[in-house]
């Protein structure tokens, strides 16, 4: 039913004239054209009278319960906004809050005793040791494993870490001692160490 609008300048001026969207000079132009062209005059009057009928279209009001629901919704939403404030929408504050939270998480992870963090893992390690699987670690919770480790202070202040000598390795140990590599006590103290402190000890220079 809809024709593709193909507006000439006259059509455009015509419809704008009916809807009073022309400037005074264009209005004069259209009115002069209508004096000379009866068909144009008839068309403009026809469009005007049809539009006048449409102007009689009534306005409908929505059901009152719908309006009240909308008002309630607006009140609820405003109350929520008031409660939380609009600050959560601020990207700067959001970023700051995220950084603080992240920092707190990281600090907590480093400062908590490893037993607290890896409680289950310790149990697992013990279970693994029970079945003969070796899991290297040097925390208090794994004292049984600690016995298997020893730290040597070798030449040029180099520190060596290796398995504790077993009966099979006795000859190898003798040869090391013969070369002047002296065993020293493990620096891992029996006290409970946090992961952060442990890392610092392992990577730092003793002397």
């Amino acid at each position: 039913m809809e024709k593709k609008p193909n507006m000439s300048n006259v059509d455009e001026l015509c419809i704008k004239y009916v809807f009073d969207e022309l400037d005074p000079s264009e209005i004069t132009l259209v009115e002069q054209a209508m004096i000379h062209d009866q068909n144009l005059l008839i068309e403009v009057e026809s469009l005007k009278s049809t539009w006048k009928k449409i102007r009689n279209l009534p306005e409908l009001t929505p059901p009152s319960n719908i309006s009240e629901t909308i008002i309630d919704q607006a009140i609820d939403y405003s109350s929520q906004q008031q409660f939380f404030g609009n600050s959560w929408r601020n990207p700067g504050l959001l970023a700051t809050a995220a950084i603080v939270l992240f920092s707190l998480l990281i600090s907590t992870a480093y400062l908590l005793p490893s037993d607290t963090i890896n409680g289950n893992q310790s149990d697992d390690s013990r279970s693994a040791a029970a079945v003969g699987t070796h899991t290297p670690a040097i925390t208090k919770s794994q004292e049984s494993n600690q016995d298997m480790l020893r730290v040597w202070n070798g030449h040029n202040n180099l520190v060596y870490i290796g398995k504790r000598d077993t009966a099979d390795d006795a000859s190898h140990a003798d040869s090391l001692q013969g070369r002047g590599v002296l065993p020293v006590q493990s620096e891992t103290s029996p006290m409970i160490l946090s992961p952060a402190f442990r890392d610092f000890q392992l990577t730092g220079n003793r002397y």
Partner: protein, 209 residues
């Protein structure tokens, strides 16, 4: 009494100021005033496009849910609030029509018990003559408008209910001004032909070309 005075004073306040009061001070009376001021036009537009009360209610409510929740994010205070609301209503209506994939008869064929004019609040229409005129108006206007293609009906309704300029209509419907003008012209020509046909008249519309 205070409330009555307050409501009366809000009648004088323009939309821009009402929106500011609602947004910054959570002034519920300001929001109510905005709703009272524009709800009929918005609802009428939606209803005239979908032709069904239940659907119109849903779209109207959906429109205002978006208005309430998106106002802080998407409404630019420099623009007209009603134009922004109208865009939401228009988009919601068009979405519905696209989903439905067909045009709906405004005479509410989906809801045969529902009559467009039953909802009128005009209390002056109480004598028989006026009732007859009302029925005639119903037959000759709403039916014909509902028979228009959606694009033409849309332009007519936006102009009638919102008094939008053709530039605004063109922007809202994503067409050129020329297209919007053309749609209005063809809508009026089609309506004129429908009125004439209904009254047994030969079309008096004169083609200039």
């Amino acid at each position: 009494m205070m409330s009555h005075k307050s409501n009366n004073s809000l009648h004088q306040v323009d939309d821009h100021e009402l929106v500011l009061r609602y947004r910054r001070n959570n002034d519920q009376k300001a929001f109510r005033q905005l709703l009272d001021r524009h709800q009929s036009k918005i609802y009428s537009y939606i209803y005239s496009m979908v032709g069904n009360a239940e659907t119109a209610n849903d779209i109207f409510q959906e429109t205002f849910t978006k208005v309430i929740t998106k106002m802080d994010e998407t409404y630019n205070e420099q623009g007209k609030w009603i134009a922004w609301v109208m865009r939401i209503a228009h988009n919601a209506t068009i979405d519905y029509l696209r989903k439905k994939k067909r045009f709906v008869d405004v005479n509410a064929q989906d809801d045969p018990d529902y009559d467009f004019y039953d909802r009128l609040t005009d209390e002056t229409l109480d004598d028989a003559q006026e009732v007859i005129e009302k029925d005639e108006a119903k037959d000759s206007l709403m039916k014909h408008i509902s028979d228009l293609p959606k694009e033409q009906r849309e332009v007519v309704m936006l102009r009638h209910y919102y008094e939008m300029s053709f530039k605004e209509i063109a922007e809202l419907t994503n067409v050129s001004i020329n297209t919007a003008l053309g749609r209005m012209r063809y809508a009026l020509i089609n309506l004129r032909k429908m009125f004439d046909k209904e009254h047994g008249k030969e079309t008096k519309y004169v083609e200039r070309r």
